[in-house]
Symmetry: C2
Subunit: 168 residues, 2 copies
DNA sequence: AGCAATTAGTTTGAACTCAAACCTTATCGC
DNA sequence: GCGATAAGGTTTGAGTTCAAACTAATTGCT
């Protein structure tokens, strides 16, 4: 149960030394793929996303909704566009997301007084309550990640942020 | 251009100290969200994915196809299920993915001789050629990630793999 | 051998996402 | 002011993805 992974870091898998990191149950050789940061990023994100969804999924509020509601809580009156930028989602994704949250009674949308194009967003009481509950799950979930990352967390987060910021 | 991010790590954002990490252009406060590993994982993956797609996207071969073709190249004769497990995609996702690659003439599928349920997969010559080209782009792309991660790469990859593996 | 449980692959339905086109409203330059 | 340009939101279309239901074939158990 102690990770085959980190064992190999030395030898550059040039594609000829097969059978390197296969899972416990004889599976495919990932070859050079396992050296790509991008690929491993996807795998990790994928697993994390799914685990979060499992923990909170019954309510149908998955990571995307969670992130949106967090931003809404901390920035009451924000507009859809700004929300989209904050959570890195296209505005055309944000529209139906908010329609859903509004339909569930978790979010209120009123026209902005200063700009007739835009909508200002706030969580309802129910939204705040739902978010509090959600935060409990999210914390538990992220605690698992914290446990894996251990004291490397600060550096790990810094690298993730750097990737997110520098790939403009 | 030197990351506002890591600056705040000390104070636990309990939701009352607003305006902490907003981007250069007065934007939303991410609040507690920025402390979540899961959220930052998504942002980084997102940006990386999109950058890859931009570099190779004209050909329509995005990261998903790239990963599949890499596994195919290193594991000729593999079955769809095994491929799916290798790249962490559901078998119902793999089916249309391969139909597309086959339609493009990059992959051959023949019935397995030993198991009449399964299909064995191999890259065609065109597939190998396309992949070689793709690898060039992928390497350039991952080099950018390498540059960002620097000498922390080994540890960074180890953490990503640990996350992917331990969240079963 | 024979029946149950598993596995390979496909199909279908729902969710999420982006990009592009579009309308409305603001802002900028002159 | 006025026209061009930009920005906020919505709609539409296409691409990915998973999960569940289903068929066909294989394995396991007795």
């Amino acid at each position: 149960m102690d990770q085959v992974a980190t064992k190999r870091s030395g030898r550059a898998s040039n594609g000829r030394d097969r059978r390197t990191r296969k899972a416990a149950t004889s599976e495919a050789d990932l070859g050079a793929l396992q050296g790509f940061i991008g690929f491993n990023l996807r795998l990790a994100q994928d697993v994390s996303f799914r685990a979060f969804a499992r923990q909170t999924g019954q309510r149908g509020l998955r990571p995307g909704r969670f992130a949106a509601m967090m931003v809404l809580r901390d920035n009451p009156g924000i507009t859809q566009s700004a929300l989209g930028r904050a959570i890195a989602r296209d505005k055309s994704t944000v529209t139906p997301l908010l329609q859903d949250l509004q339909r569930r009674g978790l979010v209120k949308r009123h026209p902005s007084r200063t700009d007739r194009r835009s909508v200002t967003l706030t969580l309802t009481e129910a939204g705040e309550a739902a978010l509090r509950e959600l935060v409990r799950h999210a914390r538990a979930h992220d605690q698992r990640l914290d446990d894996i990352v251990g004291d490397a967390k600060a550096g790990f987060l810094a690298l993730l942020r750097r990737i997110a910021d520098d790939f403009g």
